[in-house]
């Protein structure tokens, strides 16, 4: 069938319009249809994101319980994406969404990857931060223990060491924000 408009190209767009109960049919080629503005062609092709949205909001309840509220109320403070929007588009808005959506990501990731824990490369910068955080945790526990034992001299040393590390941590975070 040739295009009704230009009578040159094959008609590949077949439109059925119903206006006030009246049916009308049009057979156009892509170009004419586009020119007539009858059809928006740059629609998103079916993609992985559509499939993902089907995997979300399943098994949400256990996470609701863990977090103490429902996923509908969750929003990323950094970019403003809500969990509901994430469910619709299947894409995160920024790195902070991962923290904001927390436990709700667990069933999704398990379905996609069969796993919920990264294995392998750690960026060197993060490696430093992770180590720092772990030694801070250890020192704080140590401090508490020393205070309980009333070993105040040693506790003071540990406290100074904690302050040092905390400063380092702040520097790193500040550097990251500026970098």
């Amino acid at each position: 069938m040739l295009c009704q408009e230009c009578q040159k190209n094959q008609a590949t767009v077949h439109l059925t319009k119903i206006v006030n109960g009246e049916h009308s049919e049009q057979h156009l080629c892509e170009q004419c249809a586009r020119e007539k503005g009858e059809f928006v062609f740059n629609h998103q092709p079916f993609s992985i994101h559509h499939l993902l949205t089907g995997l979300m909001n399943i098994d949400a309840q256990p996470a609701d319980k863990l977090m103490g509220f429902t996923s509908a109320k969750v929003q990323c403070n950094n970019c403003g994406l809500t969990y509901a929007q994430f469910g619709q588009i299947g894409r995160f808005g920024c790195s902070e969404c991962y923290h904001a959506f927390g436990e709700w990501l667990v069933p999704l990731m398990r379905r996609i990857h069969g796993s919920t824990q990264h294995v392998g490369t750690v960026p060197r910068r993060a490696e430093g931060a992770v180590k720092l955080r772990r030694s801070l945790e250890e020192l704080r526990q140590q401090l508490q223990h020393l205070v309980e034992q009333e070993e105040f001299e040693k506790a003071a040393e540990v406290r100074d060491r904690i302050r040092e590390l905390e400063e380092q941590e702040q520097e790193q975070e500040g550097g990251a924000a500026n970098g």
Binding site: C94, L105, I112, H118, V119, G179
Partner: protein, 355 residues
Amino acid sequence: MVNDYKKIVQPSKWMSAPGPDGDVVLSSRVRLARNLAKIPFPYLASDSQTAAVAEQVYAASQDLDGDLGKMTYYRMQELPSLSRQALVEKYLISPLLAKESHNSAVLLRDDEGVSIMVNEEDHLRIQCLLPGLQLEEALQEANRYDELLEQRLDYAYDERWGYLTVCPTNVGTGLRASVMLHLPALAVTKQLNRILSAIAQVGLAVRGIYGEGSETTGNLVQISNQVTLGQSAEEIVSNLFGVTRQIVEQEKQVRQVLLNEDRDRTADRVNRAYGVLSHARLLSSQEAMQLMSDVRLGVDLGLIEEVQGDLLKELLVLQRPANLQLYTNRTLNALDRDRERARLFRQKLTQSKQA
């Protein structure tokens, strides 16, 4: 600042050598998805935010000049659409990068073995593309660039989820490794579909190349990993390597069967294809792909001696619409293209015969 891509007709690194198992494996690719912490991802970011990301990556590349090797930075909006399309056809950038510009750019190493896409789906996509079966080498190379860039950029990373990506299917390693395979013997003996569905069962993705929909064209197949979380990059790559080696062995065995037990018909088929490819006056891309597959099989089996395998790899890209138009230096409609494509094959195959 370079604002055009001039070397379009030069073969990329993956086309200019056979590489290990190069008679079956055309290329190996590794890409790492990386993002910058806290900055909204490209599809959501403001124009000034994506511009700032591009600027940061550009500055990092300038700082790292000596370590990165000779690279050129192309801004997508400054590149004519035909050049962008030609880069897609060479697999150096993704269709998304060419199409939707969020201050998108590519940092391309001069041998075209490494390309770093900026503001694609993720802020960064580091890609290494090598000839033949060289997955581990490609991973090492991509890792080297990743580590260099990490010194200058603040990556989004989480202890639990690994490298944070736009799409949850890439999170963890951010790694997608793939091989492009030419499997004519498995296809002609109708074993391809069975093998492909077996591959899908071990957690790898399979798709045809340059094909319409799910149809494979020119017996080319791409296999890639799907899982990115919970396995290390090395594990993912070695799994894919193992499966690929198996398929390569299968293909090679069936090729020997074709040669030993069906020699006359095989020799006839590949030489007929060679005849058409070197004498036709009109060639559609689809037909050229099918003929090239037959000729390549003939070359690999020693049934056609006048043609080099690498030339066919180069022609695979050169015959595609954008590369063809840049090669002939003319804008071509569909019929023009079929004529110029046929001319290209006649020229290149005659030159190859004389050489």
